[in-house]
Symmetry: C2
Subunit: 216 residues, 2 copies
DNA sequence: GACTCATGTTACCGTTGGTAACTTAAAAGA
DNA sequence: TCTTTTAAGTTACCAACGGTAACATGAGTC
């Protein structure tokens, strides 16, 4: 949200890095990561395209910065949402897919880069991995907490975690790529449809036979 | 698998269209859709890059053709797998995520274009929509069949379908983008891990309370 | 008030996707 | 069998792109 585009006459932009990230995310949300060009982006920010190289070593590095920013924000939003819920383990678990979904709806550009982009150079992308792992750890810890409290069936936590992450991420990305319309009855309130499907799925996992999730 | 690269001296290639699709898919599998260039692709096929425009009106149109080809092949593989199973509705349903996963593992390039690519021009992509809808219809019909046979809980078929599609697609694409490693205990035999998680999820859905899936 | 250096600029490069005009050879008609 | 048509290649060219080198500006420090 940094509206640092205020002084067009100034030689120095002021906050070009964040501005570029925000502008790029908006463009990616519309037409994908393949579409945007550094030149158009820089022009929109009021600088030449070469100025971008002061903040990102390459176009791919800008994408990596967007991904890292996204993982950090997602993790922060998830942690904040859980914070407000005290020690109700089940509620703390259920708030995660909801936050995940809202993050995708609010910042689809970030989401797309985080999950749909194929990195040609893994090294540039390494910075994002840490923040990403934290977000996943949050889910796994919540699952373990629920298992310890007897709210979720015992067994391999990784299986349950994978199933929950899978259905959440799957519905979110299918919706983002417009491919959920086919299976959805009404287009209106798609977020409600997804959210209720997620809740039903989590509930089904909750009451399921522990034997299902035991490692074979 | 058309190995039409046999006659390098010939002026006419013979089967350039299919060759380009196969080569592009292989390149996309390695480094994503943003990476490959028409010129490199054409050179690999033994022609100049302008020759590609005889078969695809643009780079994006080639991607759309890959997607359409993918949806057709996925649907055909799913239908063939179900064919062999007669009237066992539950087995016919369970074979779908397995086929879906195998398709992703066998042709990751196709899968990436089908589900992770953002289309800048929807018109070019329209051809793929039909084949895509058929694949989804196959799942929804199997769910309805299971419900009619009393194998799956009654209720809105669209919810159950969305949940199953979601967990299947979610785990497949998380694995494809390398983001499932974090939540997985052992890297070896990841396909087994995913497949068993999918089976456990479907089983959890099967024995769940019908009230969960009723439209609200 | 001079120095420093982060942050801009212009000039330029090879490569890319795409168009126009021409060439080749396989198939169709007489 | 010879001519004609046409699908499928070619070379020549273009503007735009990502990226590099060398230079310019101006805010903060001593």
């Amino acid at each position: 949200m940094p509206a640092a585009k205020a002084r067009p006459a100034a030689y120095h932009h002021g906050n070009l890095r964040d501005t570029l990230i925000a502008l790029a995310s908006a463009r990616i949300a519309k037409a994908g990561a393949a579409d945007f060009t550094l030149r158009e982006l820089a022009a929109e920010a009021g600088v030449t395209h070469v100025a971008t190289y002061r903040h990102f070593s390459s176009r791919e590095a800008l994408l990596a910065a967007i991904a890292a920013d996204g993982y950090r924000r997602l993790q922060a939003q998830e942690a904040a949402a859980q914070e407000a819920l005290g020690t109700d383990h089940w509620a703390r678990l259920l708030v995660l897919p909801e936050t995940y979904l809202r993050f995708m709806l609010d910042t689809p550009g970030h989401f797309h880069v985080m999950f749909a982009h194929r990195w040609s150079d893994d090294a540039t992308y390494d910075e994002a991995i840490a923040a990403q792992a934290e977000s996943f750890a949050l889910l796994e810890r919540s699952v373990a907490d629920c298992q310890a409290a007897g709210v979720l069936p015992a067994g391999a936590a990784s299986r349950l975690t994978a199933a929950m992450l899978g259905v959440t991420h799957g519905l979110a990305s299918l919706w983002l790529s417009g491919q959920l319309d086919i299976v959805m009855p009404a287009r209106r309130r798609a977020d409600r449809f997804i959210l209720e499907t997620l809740k039903a799925s989590f509930e089904a996992f909750r009451v399921s036979d522990p034997e299902l999730w035991r490692a074979k």
